[in-house]
């Protein structure tokens, strides 16, 4: 037997709703109408919030903003999570973070330049990780902790297609496989990493198949279909909580917006491509489904939309009310107990503050 196959692996793709909103009843999750409404609300909530934030950035009230536009089905992952699960988000997860219970004013505070905003309401949400793919290892560590203390929970860690090129992605996947950790790797493949298209990011046919190199399974879902996202995440989290190890989910979606408010996507991608994806809009599709189920009415959506916009406006006032924290905050959270040198620098900050006040008074 000089030649033999020693490994065979595959990846499946699935969706629940097609682009017209028609449902595959075999895969349809058993949701109450309240749950379905909540999903829809979360999706229009992030779309409204994104819209507001992009405007606020333009008027100089927020720093660089990264919009979720097109990826709103990410919120379905929040519905699959339990309270004691952990969410380890990336920088394009505001929909998910809000759905898990964070407040608008918290995100506005971070965006406006205050570290205090990163204390998200909502259970077990880490601050957003900016260095691409680094957070995957934190998720692995948290999941490892759960396993060691025999908790029956799991971690969902979220990231983009570009993140899969980083060494930390690999090391995290490998540790998760070796230690059979309760972690779900939730890759939002939105086809672009700033200007680099998915096909130039990796020669792999799918991202999901990367799991095969770590001894666990990967699955691809239609990422503009919140039901498919829910089913995939919920199965994977269940598997994780049962001690059956990690899963890689590739959520096929599209970044409809520029990479950020500092980017101009027209420099590197065709309007044609974007247009084609417009037809797959996750909110439109889900609306059709809800309408067919007689859950959706225009009046209801208008009402919900109005409430959300009002809450966003209120949160802006709250965010504006957040005191300008004292400059000593800069040094006070470096360590639990400040060093002598930091205390010296703290005095310098206080003195500088006093000096400024004196100068202003003049």
């Amino acid at each position: 037997m000089p030649e033999k196959k020693v490994f065979v692996g595959d990846v499946r793709f699935f969706s629940v709703l097609d682009e017209s909103g028609a449902v595959d009843s075999k895969l349809e999750p058993a949701f109450s109408s309240d749950e379905l409404k909540k999903l829809f609300e979360w999706m229009i909530q992030i779309r409204a919030f994104d819209d507001k934030c992009v405007k606020l950035q333009r008027s100089g009230k927020l720093g660089t903003y990264l919009s979720v536009l097109g990826q709103e089905a990410q919120v379905a992952a929040a519905l699959a999570m339990e309270k004691n699960d952990w969410l380890v988000p990336y920088f394009r997860d505001n929909g998910l973070i809000l759905a898990r219970g964070a407040k608008f004013e918290e995100l506005l505070a971070v965006g406006g330049g205050s570290e205090w905003g990163s204390q998200f309401s909502g259970p077990n949400i880490l601050p957003v990780a900016i260095p691409v793919a680094t957070q995957l290892l934190h998720a692995v560590g948290i999941a490892w902790g759960m396993k060691i203390s025999k908790e029956k929970n799991a971690v969902l860690v979220s990231f983009g297609d570009g993140a899969t090129s980083e060494g930390d992605f690999h090391e995290a996947m490998n540790f998760a496989g070796v230690f059979q950790l309760p972690v779900v790797f939730f890759c939002q493949n939105n086809q672009w990493a700033i200007s680099v298209p998915r096909k130039n990011q990796t020669a792999s046919e799918t991202i999901a198949q990367k799991a095969l190199g770590y001894g666990f399974s990967g699955v691809q879902v239609d990422g503009n279909d919140p039901l498919a996202v829910f089913v995939a995440v919920s199965e994977a989290l269940k598997k994780a909580r049962q001690g059956k190890g990690p899963t890689l989910i590739e959520m096929i979606t599209y970044r409809m917006s520029d990479h950020s408010t500092a980017d101009d996507a027209s420099k590197y991608r065709s309007l044609q491509e974007t247009r084609a994806w417009e037809k797959k809009d996750p909110i439109d599709r889900f609306r059709k489904y809800l309408k067919a189920k007689k859950i959706w009415t225009q009046a209801w959506e208008d009402r919900v939309g109005q409430t959300i916009r009002t809450r966003i406006e209120e949160s802006m006032r709250k965010a504006e009310l957040i005191p300008n924290h004292p400059s000593t905050d800069i040094v006070d959270f470096v360590f639990l107990e400040s060093t002598m040198e930091l205390l010296r620098q703290r005095e310098f900050l206080e003195e500088a503050g006093r000096r400024e006040k004196r100068d202003d008074a003049k």
Binding site: G162, S195, Q201
Partner: protein, 325 residues
Amino acid sequence: MTLMNMIQALNAGLFGAMQADDSVLVLGEDVGLNGGVFRVTEGLQKKFGPDRVIDTPLAESAIVGASIGLAIKGFRPVAEIQFSGFAYSAFEQLVSHAARIRNRSRGKFSCPLVVRSPCSGGVRALEHHSESMEALFCHVPGLKVVMPSTPSDAKGLLASAIIDPDPVLFFEPLKLYRLKKEEVSEDHYEIPIGKARLVRPGKHVTVVSYGSMVPECEKAALALSEKGIETEVLDLRSLSPLDFAAVQESVKHTNRLAIVHEAPYSFGVGAEIAARIAERNVLELDAPVVRIAGLDAPMPLSKLEEAYLPNANRIAFEIEKLMNF
């Protein structure tokens, strides 16, 4: 001569270098079709093709590690790390290989590599986008570290970095990218690595700085001048090797020294300069050395960024104190 900001000067420098030498390559995240997130590499791919101006996958260790291989193979890669706060995952490749291949092989192999990276704060950016960790690279034997503060220095230093037979970290203070324009020669010229620039002569006190803080030092010097304090301002331009001779010469006639950087105070570039003075010129001092620097804390988000960063006011205030010593 053409009026250019620093981005335009760097872009012109890259154009010139690529035109002059086929072995010069540009690679990194979004440097090709997109022309770089700050437009420094704009138009290069169109001109020199995707084989020489390469959009890479999102992986800093690979960008530097593969560049090392390219350099060994005879190319002169100019790699971009999109922000210096993302250079850490390439640290092993820089420290353990780029910096050591010549020494390890006793000169059989070498690594003529340039790593460009925007650095420093002052533009209210996201976390990790405003880092000033240049001192880390200065401590590593085998690496050179430069940081221009003007468009024309940027172009001339980049030319030297690309021609240099050894690895050069090239930090670009992003606050200065578009801050001012000046006349820059279109021709090839080199600003030698390891030579400071006398920004402003003065007889009372020496201020040594680099990068984003140079304009602040100039402003401070102007203000102090009105009070009769003549500040000599030196822009280091190269951090490693340091032009310590220039610092010494200045201190010899001013007898007072302040060092300004926005990087954290402790264990920074300022420490090395102050230490050399303490070793080699301590008797020439009429007053203690003073370091005016960032704090020993992570760079804060935008709300507190101003409180963190040294500025002209603070520099002037500290120098007045120093003069009154």
